[in-house]
Symmetry: C2
Subunit: 240 residues, 2 copies
């Protein structure tokens, strides 16, 4: 087990408000683990025996219904707390987390959770904020799915991904991990066919640039308009 240096993590939300000594104490209880691309950090339904902090990489969190329908719940980026099922009083993980790229995470035993939050109340606050902002995101998604067209939802999803994991490149902002049309479809509640058609159309208009497991947003401003329900680009719609 590699020792993790405090300086790597000291300015993450999870460690904010703790003294260097406390930070070291917390780190000493954690294990650092490597997950190669494609590896599962935990599986839906498995006993929630650990919680994690992602140090490096990106994870895809996915959930499968009893009927076998799979969908992408969210992506986790470096610095985020995840797998805190135990803190919400779940005994099993409600979803599967898979490394979208080679990743590194810190893991603590779930059994220490209670002791830790009593000792470091700021940890509870951090977790509450983490879970709270996830709740916000998820509720936003519900609202989108209730009232928006597929095209708007895809635009929203891409913008959110770009904000969370965008990397500036020449052509615009690239999503910083491999993501398929299927993945986008599972995030927006549609089919890969429809996503493919939409992205093709956008590419023609210069809004995005595609590629195998790759999406670059070229015109985020226009995409934002689309997400908010503006009419499509070159359509000269007039209502006399």
């Amino acid at each position: 087990m590699a020792a993790v240096d405090r300086s790597l993590v000291a300015n993450l939300p999870m460690f904010a408000g703790l003294t260097p000594t406390e930070q070291d104490e917390l780190l000493r209880e954690a294990r650092s683990i490597r997950y190669p691309k494609g590896a599962a950090v935990f599986d839906q339904g498995a006993e929630a025996d650990r919680f994690f902090l992602l140090l490096h990489g990106h994870l895809r969190v996915e959930k499968t219904t009893s009927q076998g329908q799979q969908s992408v719940v969210r992506y986790v980026s470096a610095g985020e707390l995840f797998g805190v099922a135990q803190a919400m009083n779940l005994t099993n993980y409600p979803a599967t987390a898979v490394a979208a790229v080679d990743s590194i995470a810190l893991a603590w035993p779930s059994s220490s959770w209670h002791r830790l939050i009593v000792k470091y109340p700021s940890l509870a606050s951090t977790a509450l904020q983490t879970v709270g902002s996830r709740l916000q995101d998820t509720q936003a998604r519900v609202m989108e799915m209730s009232s928006e067209q597929v095209e708007q939802r895809v635009a929203h999803a891409l913008l959110r991904l770009a904000k969370q994991a965008g990397r500036k490149v020449d052509a615009g902002v690239e999503i910083d991990f491999p993501i398929s049309r299927q993945d986008v479809a599972e995030m927006t509640g549609t089919t890969l066919h429809t996503v493919s058609r939409i992205l093709s159309a956008w590419e023609q208009q210069g809004l995005v640039e595609g590629g195998r497991q790759r999406i670059v947003l070229c015109d985020t401003h226009r995409l934002h308009d689309l997400a908010e329900g503006e009419e499509a680009v070159q359509a000269h719609k007039r209502e006399p």
Copy 2:
């Protein structure tokens, strides 16, 4: 301000794990407030200056998009903590809470939140569990909206409502507060027209009993089947 007796609340999750003295201390900082049917406890966007515990009644929590699309986020029942926006580091309430029936809630100033969780760590755990289970519910809704037909979603919604706020009556289980077709539509991401059609059809088959702002589930078992995607009732579908 009426004094609230500890015995009324002692066995709620929020007060579990506290000594009677601590329970009294917590109660002494709260105000008890009556909300007549239709009154707003707080409004979306308002400053989140208080958090609440519902003592009696039912609240409808609704959210409106920037485009004016409204939707029902959830219903709150007696004993639940709500309005904990501040704990998730939000400065404003993300939704509106309206009394579905005459209701009573305890209110604490948001400013005491931090002090309280340091003093009573179990409070943080309770809040985390509350928010966590909401996250679970909301994610379940996302999955439903991605993969289920409208009829299944309505069935799921009714079953959830019945579990949360069902009252046993002669004909079956009645939802214990006034709820319109429009409300159900806003919970399931459809229109009141479609909900009305579905409920009419179900009523013919004896699955539910309707009425003005009133729904009684008569055959929860069959509804459960429908929710899980079984074929419609009298349809003799065979696949040879």
